[in-house]
Each structure stands twice: as structure tokens, then as C-alpha cells.
């Protein structure tokens, strides 16, 4: 039988060839758009929004006390530095990353909507990248305004001069916040695709493993918190809570370590996500 005859007899063979999967970045972009809105307007965002309003409330309280001539010894810069070092780095940022990143795939599996994503001509790594980008977009949209508003409320006490003096620290803190969301997010994305109940493991990591950061010697280098705390360096906060208990590690190795670990965890997450049979979890 000739090839032409065979093709005519076989409707599948006769069908014109179609292109391969959707280009990687294009697929990721569509998943990003699809996931961003769902994440931003989720109940999770309401909860995290409340969590991130707390420093702002403290800042307002601080200004009220100053206005009432209460005997407050701490300066606005010191207050902001302490708030960022203790509340954001130790509590709000890792928790925000934990709640969003572990749910990137788990929410779709639980809602049984993962099928729609996995039955499109899109590579799974592309799906995961799009979801992770949406996670970063959502958490940055929640965290950065919280940090900036808290800074603004505190530093305007000293007028424009206060804002100008604190601006470099603010920029550094915003960068540290973004790095924290990236590093914790990559780790928790990996935990989220690996385990069926990732939240408990994540909490154990945050409130168990991360306490290694206060130990002497090499142990703090095995935590994300120690590197972040070292990068958040306010000259005026030398006696702040986090600065007092965590040793200061060098910044450049910190950037390399957190950047590399983020890439590694994302690559592992993508590898697992590409091979996992999610219908078994439904």
C-alpha cells in the first residue's frame, strides 16, 4: 500500500500536522493571568491583609502616643527597623509565603479544577511557573504597600527630612521583603507539590527549623531567616530584637545562597509537578 493510500484510509494520518505545546512563556503568562485574580480576591488574601495591617495599626498608635506627649523613648526609625526585623521577617513574610505557596497546586487539586490545566497543550513546568509568578505578584501586592504605609506613618513624624533619611533603608527593606517572598515561596511551592498536607510541614519548618538562626556557629547559615535578618541592616537598630539574637552574615553570600536555593526548590517542584498523577489525589 502506498503512503497516499494509507493516509487516505487512516483519518488520523491524513490529518494535517499540528504544532507542539504552547510556547513556554506564553503558557505561563496565561496561567499567571488566570491565577492572579483568583489569588488576589481569595479569602486567604482577606486574612493575610488583616495580618499585614497590624504593623500599620502599631505605627498609628505610636504616632498617637507621640501626639499625646507620652514618654516614648524609641525613635520612628528605630521603631520601623524593629517592626520590619521582628514582625515582617520573623512572622508575616514567612507566613504569607506559606499560606499562598503551599496552595498553588493544592487548591486546584482540592477543587478538582487541576484537570482543566493539565488537559491543555501546555507544559506542566509552564503552568507551575505561571502560578509561582502569580503568587509573587499577589504577595508583593499585599506586603509592599503594608511596609511602605507603615514607614510613611512613622517617618513623617520628622517631616520630609525623616522620609529622605529613611528612604535608603526602606528601599533595602522592600528588596529584602521581595527576596523573602521569593525564597520562602520557592521552598513552600516545593513542599506543596511534594506533600499532601504541606501546611503542617511548613509550620514545623518555620517554628522549628528556622530557630537554628539564633544559634552560634554555622547552623544559622542553614536557615532562610538568618540570611534575611543579616540583609535587613538598620544602623539605627543595632539593639533591635532580631539584630540582638541573630549573628550578622555577609550579604553577597546571602544573596547567592537564597537565589540558588530558590532556583533549586523551584526546579525540584517543577520536576515533581511534571511527573505527578494528580487524579490520584482527587
Amino acid at each position: 500500500m502506498s503512503a497516499a493510500t494509507a493516509a487516505a484510509a487512516d483519518p488520523v494520518a491524513a490529518a494535517p500536522p499540528r504544532p507542539g505545546p504552547v510556547p513556554f512563556l506564553r503558557g505561563a503568562r496565561v496561567v499567571f493571568d488566570l491565577s492572579l485574580e483568583a489569588m488576589l480576591w481569595s479569602r486567604r488574601s482577606v486574612f493575610m491583609g488583616l495580618l499585614l495591617v497590624v504593623p500599620l495599626l502599631f505605627a498609628i498608635l505610636y504616632r498617637v502616643l507621640l501626639a499625646a506627649h507620652a514618654p516614648v523613648r524609641i525613635t520612628p526609625a528605630l521603631f520601623f527597623g524593629g517592626m520590619f526585623g521582628s514582625y515582617y521577617i520573623w512572622f508575616a513574610l514567612p507566613l504569607t509565603a506559606l499560606f499562598y505557596a503551599t496552595a498553588l497546586v493544592a487548591d486546584e487539586v482540592e477543587a478538582k479544577t487541576i484537570t482543566y490545566l493539565l488537559t491543555r497543550p501546555v507544559r506542566r513546568t509552564s503552568i507551575l511557573l505561571g502560578k509561582f509568578a502569580a503568587y509573587l505578584g499577589t504577595t508583593l501586592a499585599l506586603v509592599l504597600p503594608s511596609v511602605v504605609l507603615t514607614f510613611f506613618v512613622l517617618m513623617t513624624r520628622q517631616g520630609r527630612r525623616g522620609l529622605a533619611l529613611g528612604a535608603p533603608d526602606l528601599v533595602r527593606d522592600l528588596a529584602v521583603a521581595a527576596l523573602a517572598l521569593l525564597a520562602y515561596g520557592a521552598l513552600f511551592t516545593f513542599v506543596g507539590v511534594l506533600l499532601r498536607w504541606p501546611l503542617i510541614t511548613g509550620l514545623l519548618f518555620l517554628y522549628g527549623w528556622e530557630w537554628l538562626s539564633i544559634l552560634p556557629g554555622w547552623a544559622p547559615r542553614l536557615t532562610i531567616r538568618a540570611w534575611l535578618t543579616s540583609m535587613h541592616h538598620h544602623t539605627v537598630v543595632g539593639e533591635g530584637l532580631s539584630q540582638g539574637v541573630v549573628q550578622t552574615l555577609p550579604v553577597v553570600p546571602g544573596l547567592i545562597t537564597l537565589g540558588t536555593s530558590s532556583l533549586l526548590f523551584l526546579a525540584l517542584a517543577a520536576w515533581i509537578f511534571s511527573r505527578r498523577q494528580y487524579v490520584l489525589d482527587q
Binding site: P11, A15, V31, L117
Partner: protein
Amino acid sequence: MSALAAAAPAPITFERASRWYGPVIALNDVSTALLPGVTGLLGPNGAGKSTFLKLAAGQLAPSQGQVNVLGRPAWGHPELFRDVGLCPEADALWDHLTGEQFLMSLMRLAGYEEAECTRRTQAALEMVQLADARHRRCGGYSRGMRQRIKLAQALAHDPQVLLLDEPLTGMDPMSRRRVSDIIRRLAAEGRTILVSSHVLHEVESLTQRVLLIHNGRILAQGEVREIRDLLDEHPHTVTLRARDPRALARAVVDATHVVSIAFGPEPDTVTVQTARPDEFYGVLHEPALQAGVLEMYSPDEDLESVFRYLVQR
């Protein structure tokens, strides 16, 4: 390659495919080839239908053997989904999106340009008669509408292979008729359509070609007529949920083929047993409209008894 697959190159082929979950064998050494047209995948709950369908849809990897779709392994080849559409059984949608947004998002994921996404979305919405509800959120859709939007996403990209998992479940008679018409039309265009169901009558209304599956094995493959007569010995049960169940019962009680009528199991449901499902569904249309039938479904006991008979034979 098995002799079966070599003789008839088919869009969907299973070659000695098995799938087990731990110690449980869901599908056991299955070899078959599905040709263009509608094939009904019939079996009681737990027979292995869903596993069969998920293997064909590339959602599961076979533990042993091979499952090919359009000449390529179904597992691990996302590009296949340019030509494959899946309507899943689960009643799950992105409820925060409107019907239009839902389809547009999935068309973008299928790789189409924006104008083409819009064109295909509108065409699919019209095909499943949801154009008027395009701006409503999926979360507010009725069960029948949800089934139809699921079907729309499966066929909007014009696939050669359609895998439909219990597509008629929960639909009212009107929606059921519409969807059946769509499936038959798509099959007439030369597509390969696999419809899984635990209701023989549902499948019979779509095709004469069935694959009977039981305990993870293919029990029979061929014409539905061969098992059709068995149904006479096993009355077909239909449960209907209606706004006025008493009016519905009054309207169908005199039909000669109705064996029994009972109210329940819910306060707004009527359960009817009929010896002639074809005739019953034929006369149901008008009373269903008047009584406001919202949903109808069949338990799988009918099919279960037929399967028991086949297995014991």
C-alpha cells in the same frame, strides 16, 4: 504491537494496559482499539471506567502496557491536547469566572490568538446554548448548565478525540437532548468520541457501539443490541427531581411501560421504574416541562444486574 492494533490504526489504542493503585487492580491487561464515531464505555461504578478514561486522557500513566492516542503515548505528551478534549466527571469549575471568561481562559491555554479565542468561545457557548448566560458566574449555574459548560470547554478547540465522563449526569431532559444531539453531530463529522456512563439507556441513545467493562476487564465489545433484551428482565429506574413531583407522577402513571412509581428518596423527587426506557423518555418531554423537572439520574442497579447476568453466563 498487537494484531488488533496493527489491523486497524485507531485514534485510541490500549495495548495490554494495566493500572493498579497499590494492591488494587483498577484495569487489568486491557487491549482494545477505538475507531472514529461514538463508543460507549459502560460499566457499574467501580468497574474501571474512570481509570480507562483517565488513561486515555493522559491523566494517569499505565502501570503496565501502553495507551496511545493519535499515535502517541497519552501520558506525558501535552501537545496531544490540541487534538483531545476531556469533559471530566467532577462537578468542578472556576466558580469565580463567568462562563465566557472560563472558556476564554482555556482557549488562551490552548494557544489561540485573542480573536480566535473569542470566536471559538462564542461558537462553543452557542453550541451548548449558554450564550445568554455567558456573563453569569459559573458558581451560579444550574447542574445542567455546569455540565454544558464542561462540554463546551472540551469541544471548543475542535478536537479529533473527545473523552466524555458521564456527560449527561444530572441534566434535565431538554439539556440531555441537546447534548446528545451535539455528540451525535460531532461523531458524524468523523471524530472519535468515548462516552462513559453507568446507564445503558444513555449510551444507547448515542451509539450502538459499546465497550462493557467490569472488574477492570473488558467483558464485551460490540453492538448494544446484544445486551438490549436483557433489560426487559431488569426494569430501568429513573429518579426525577421536579418542582411539582405529584404532577409529574400523574402525567406518567398511565403509561403501559411504567412498572412502578414512588415518591422519594428526597421530598421533591419521583422514582419511576420502566420496562421500556425509550418509550418512557419519549413521552417524558411534555410532562417534564409542565412539572418543572430540574434533574434526572439513574442509579446503576439496572446495569449491575445485567453485568451480573453476563458474568455468570
